[in-house]
Symmetry: C2
Subunit: 515 residues, 2 copies
């Protein structure tokens, strides 16, 4: 039963009488949701009927935000003052004692489209545009954004809704344009701990002369995103002019997409998806494609790991997502090639930003102990990109990729890219560590990616870059009772204890069967 009270027909900036208060920076960090603090006996609260948790429109000169009200019942504020949280202060460009005007915000019209979707109606192109616009403008509260995420979760978005969402996300972000052609790219839909092929693929492909301006995400529900891992090795928060300089010089880059506002909507959605651990196929496709298109890519290879505990659990659902990526991509003139890969266990040994970065360096430097599985996957994907980008005929990509890696050309290219991005850095190891031991001797018969990721997250990854775990027991390996199956790394004793408590409570995260 819909109850669409929200469409108003009013134009933005209605004539409600503004009320003036003097702003004060309270130094309260509420993360991204802006909060305004007013006294309960303040004349504005009384005359406007504001109460705790009311949504309030706040103006400082030409700057405008919608903030959530917390009511002050103590002497923290004077009656003529409006306290601002840190995010509200920044968004309004606050000035101590300066005047802000507060009023009732208009009802957010586009939320009626979210409600309609919740009740089973498809999202239209117009609806998607309006929703994403309002989210980026800060007009949605956290619970409204959460409603939208839930409405799109699982398989609730069909192909036309997905295209509409992609277009809407593109419309609110910046777009890069390049003189070169083709512009190649690679992407992994995620869900496989340690699958850090991007720095390798970019290095190989750029070393072959293709243009690959790679923008990566931070973690959504995983212990590390490519941007998190790369940040351990070099700065990734580059501006668009900085990215242009890096790509002009080296042919490639590995930067955080969020820093350049290629998909600001996606960045906001991620902030709430992360604590909820919710995914949506349609949103995933829109998120990937909007970023690739915004980055100016023309040809992209997409890695879809499949495994019972990976993000994509079956070949069937991988094929669904693959088909959506290809056909939604085509709607924007983007050539998409998907690669279904093994998603039954982590890739490499490290899980968490710094530990994964060490794996990447080992492969690039052709170290003896470099994880062979990470190397192999990177070569397969680089081969696809080289073939898609016309640098190798079909079937010849793999040999070319391997020769570039073996010769050290990829490592040289990676160092050059890092230098161009601001300088190569050494990963640091965490101070607090704990081994989890094999309960019996035998061979490793099963690995639960999700619970491994959970342990790495509880240990502090990705916020604590050195946190995570080292995975010592790939599928099929033989282990002796009492040897370490994994080592948890943490930056604080509290986080180490927390990850241990969880790991100790779990049977068979790494399943050892007697031979």
């Amino acid at each position: 039963m819909s109850s669409d009270f929200s469409a108003t027909g009013l134009e933005h900036g209605h004539n409600g009488t503004g009320n003036i208060l003097h702003m004060r920076r309270l130094g309260i960090d509420t993360y991204q949701e802006p909060v305004i603090y007013m006294r309960s006996d303040c004349h504005v609260c009384k005359s406007e009927g504001f109460e705790a948790q009311s949504r309030i429109e706040v103006w400082h000169g030409e700057r405008r935000i919608i903030a959530t009200l917390n009511v002050i019942t103590s002497s923290l504020l004077k009656a003529q003052e409006a306290g601002l949280s840190e995010s509200a202060w920044r968004a309004l460009d606050g000035r101590e004692g300066g005047a802000v005007r507060v009023m009732h915000p208009l009802p957010v019209q586009s939320f009626s489209q979210v409600r309609a979707k919740i009740y089973g109606k498809p999202i239209t192109a117009e609806g998607a545009g309006a929703i994403i616009h309002d989210i980026v403008q800060g007009n949605y509260s956290d619970i409204q954004i959460t409603s939208f995420i839930g409405a799109c979760a699982g398989d609730r978005l069909d192909i036309s809704e997905t295209i509409a969402l992609t277009r809407a996300m593109l419309a609110v972000g910046k777009r890069l344009q390049w003189d070169a052609h083709p512009i190649v790219d690679k992407h992994c839909v995620g869900g496989l701990p340690g699958n850090r092929t991007t720095p390798l693929v970019v290095s190989i492909v750029a070393a072959c002369g293709l243009t690959i301006p790679k923008t990566s995400s931070r973690a959504i529900t995983s212990p590390s995103g490519t941007a998190d891992t790369m940040e351990v090795l070099a700065p990734v928060n580059l501006t668009i002019p900085q990215i242009r300089r890096v790509v002009a010089r080296e042919g490639g880059c590995i930067v955080w997409g969020g820093a350049v506002s290629l998909s600001p909507a996606d960045d906001i959605l991620i902030r709430l998806e992360r604590p909820l651990d919710l995914d949506s196929s349609g949103q995933l496709v829109a998120s990937v494609l909007s970023k690739k298109i915004a980055a100016g890519s023309t040809h992209v290879v997409i890695d879809i790991p499949v495994g019972s505990t990976a993000k994509v659990r079956s070949r069937e659902s991988a094929q669904t997502i693959s088909a959506m990526l290809v056909s939604a991509g085509a709607a924007f003139g983007l050539t998409v090639k998907t690669v279904l890969t093994d998603g039954t266990q982590p890739v490499g040994r490290g899980i968490g930003p710094a530990l994964e970065a060490l794996d990447v360096l080992a492969v690039l430097q052709n170290q003896d102990h470099a994880p062979a599985d990470l190397r192999r996957r990177a070569l397969v994907l680089a081969a696809e990109v080289l073939e898609l980008g016309g640098k190798a005929p079909p079937g010849a990509g793999l040999a070319l990729a391997a020769s570039i890696l073996d010769s050290g050309a990829a490592w040289q290219k990676f160092q050059a890219i890092c230098e161009a991005q601001g300088g190569l850095r050494e990963p640091e190891l965490a101070s607090y560590r704990h081994d989890l031991l094999a309960p019996r001797s035998g061979h490793v018969a099963a690995v639960d990616n999700r619970r491994l990721a959970r342990i790495a997250k509880l240990a502090g990854a990705p916020k604590a870059p050195s946190a995570g775990l080292l995975f010592h027991a790939p599928l099929g390996s033989l282990v002796t009772a009492g040897t370490a199956l994994m080592t948890i790394h943490a930056e604080s004793p509290g986080e180490l204890a927390y990850a241990r408590a969880y790991a100790d409570s779990q049977a068979d995260v790494i399943g050892v069967e007697e031979v």
Copy 2:
């Protein structure tokens, strides 16, 4: 694609090291979501890796809450202090300077059931029990509760999920038991502004000697709930012993169900459903039935208004809800009779707590100008209750109900109930009013309940009890250009201006066609 990282297997109360801080009451009202404030350089934040918006478990002696962290970057707090919001202070029974222990909370295990539902799996009886238990314990953040609401919205809950949810809601609340039999009750699923039959039905039915201990809700998405309207006339926040005394003396009561914790889960869900304006058939059925069963009812008549702008829009969906109510009720031994009523326009003249209370008084007092439609609906429902409760043979209920109302016996009973609840009060009229005029002469051809309700809500109802509107132009009535179609009432000039701005922007909330 599910990513269920949240099931832990850990028992509640894990062994994470606690950290001691000294509590300070900051006097910040964040409504129901408890907030804890800590300095960014506080040793606990550092050692535990807490950041803004982290969920934190806080203990004060035996009392425990989960609170959201806001990080203080100013001198508001000392490094050893933990500031608490008003709701956190109350829940912990705070004491200035007293010691609180803070730690990472365990992942909320039941949220994996919410996630599974979002991805299309049905909610099990166990799952519903665990979710509702955790919500009532305060273990869910607002965005987690919002995800649950979205997952149940529309028609997403089937009958077995609805029964499971009803049982779960019953399990966390108190239950009343009565010696009398039958215990009758009435309920309206809502959505029709001004449909305030409850005080009338209870008065008539109790005057006939049936036992009707009526607990009502406050508004969810409407400008007034029965409890909001009744509160204008008498206290409704009664304790269970107080309710027992009222019912023992008068055979009936009209109190707020939330005050007696009959369905504490529902009260929490309502707090977030209201700003989102989201409904769910299954949750509606579970909410109604859990409250009726908890109140000890054995026979209940349920009013389902049907109309294109009512909460239930078609006979078809009314029949679906009706069938769910009857069969889920039967699973708990509750006899349910549903009555589909006209939902095409508001009932009576007032919309908003006090204005509706005035309509109720007019009918009870048999005033000449009493709204005939409200009177008629109340008699029809009272007749059904009288017949269901065995006080009148089939077909004879209406005459009995009318005679009780006409004789003044119902008004006497209502006064007696109000006195027993703490004393009858006079409704007050709001100070700020504005007439909306007919744009042309003609007859009233259409009325949009939803936009009328929206106007009343923007005027401040139900939080401002005198706010709302008087509706002067029922369907079919003849109006002259320039006469008032409705009068907006508000308690503050800001709210009046806001309701006017919205009303002025809307065409044909009350549609007048030239004759």
